[in-house]
Amino acid sequence: MRLYDKLINIIEGMKGSTTNDSISGDLVAELTLISTLLMLGIVVRHVSIFLSIVILLGLLLILITNLPLMPKLKKEQEDSLGQMLYYVLVTLGVLFAAVYWGGNFV
């Protein structure tokens, strides 16, 4: 598929955006998200350059296959209590595991 068609599909995929202003907001959000995520991938170079390359390639693959990201991300951050509690629990588990078992490896 040509790049242009793909871009059009991406914009059409952003449901809920109906006006020019909201489309531009969504696009900026999308670009900010992609660029900052890639930057975060580069931050890993302080740990290991090889790991950073692997993460960046993986990230690129995920980003390209999942565009547009923003509607999905927005859906994950809804205002419903169930979703909030789910992420709170997941974060607690990940944080505790990372600090408790990974604390000595930093």
Partner: protein
Amino acid sequence: MNELIPLMVIFPIAAALLINLFGFKSTFVKYISIIVAFIIPIIPLASNFGLHYFGGHAPLESSLSGILYHTAITYSFTAFEQLFIFILGILGFFVVLIYVNSYKKASGPYLFLLFMGIAAVSALILSDDIFHMFVFFEIAAIVQVGIVAASTIKDRYEIALKYMIVGSIGSPIILLGIAFLLAIFGNVNITDIVNMINAGFPAASSPVFFASLALIFFGWLYTAGLPPFHTAKSGIYSGAEPQGAALLQAFSVITMVSILIAMVRIFSGLEIFNVILVAFSLLAMILSITMALVQTDFKRMIAFLAVGELGFIGLGMGIGTELSMTAGLFQAVNEMVITALLFIGFGAIAVVCKTTDINKLGGLISDYPKTAIMVLIGGFAMAGVPPLNGFQSKLMLVQSALNAGYPEFAIIIVLISIATFVVFVKVFYLMFLKTKPKALEVSGEKIPKSTIITLAVFLIICITLGLFPSIATDTISGFVGGLL
């Protein structure tokens, strides 16, 4: 006068109780609360720096190790605390002024909540005792819920209950972390704990110490509203009345900063602490800004921006150099003022137009030119446009990230600032510059004078801090020097 140190907490509490008691006498409550709100920022200016031991119990020296043990709850008051409590007092005064002016009948319980919150966060930043901090942090959390439940927004009870249930997972966890510290050190005084760690206390490298870091850090995420709590926290801001939201975000900033400083003092020896601090701060910045960009409710947009800006503070503290920590704390001071300005300015528009949906607004610059210009400059300050205060702190952050050898963080800071600017320009365009939709009926209601004066004063603070950042940074860097 060291006796004034506990008064910074006791005076607002006593005033709050008095105002609640006479809640039925509206005019009396109005006058009293204005006077009280005027006195609160004066107390930190009049007080001397120093320590206050509650009950007069001075520290005891251990005959075995020679370490000083603090037996009383200790308040430590330095120029740093003075700066924060003074700015909080100024915000409190103007919030009370707006509230008293814009409602015919002043509600005693609502003013009780405002003063109680001021007392709680003052205690948080003064306290040197981590359990004491927990107590006041819980009081602050209840006050936040109360301020939301007392508003006139449609879904306020739902928002309040959601925040409360989510918070009820967070606050026992932070208590458990404090209990772990108590189990390791037998003590809850931060200075004592730090002294014991420096004296080579063996348990300071045990897994239990790591566990307490994880638990307290999780509780801190809840206090600050960083992910995964950012949706609940931004809901709280958008669920409160505008002037209430302005004070709520100041509460969040001070709570966050004081618990963060306690964590930095206790856990800075563990390198994982800086890693998770930076990771969650970056996550907060990215998620909140992207969420702010896709909102249609402008109060929620500002709320998400307010949460995202907290990430800058955490990032500055996480990089861990003296310059970056100064920048982070300076950002905290700036953010309190700027976000309050934005909440009050946009909130005034929401009140007169009776909607918060951005697509239903437009062309308001002809109706409210003064507010529009002041809000515009406030938005510039938040996005980091020179010569305003946001520019100074963000520039310092970028410099410190570069000096510390993390250019990636500098790039992310710049990217997020640009996105903040986009959010702001979008809101401003849709609200003030776009052609007015036919359905929008501006009732011709004027924005109260108290609101305009408040905005002007906050702007003056922003510009002063922007032109002369050394007013704040000298104090802060002195404090950070003592911290490292």
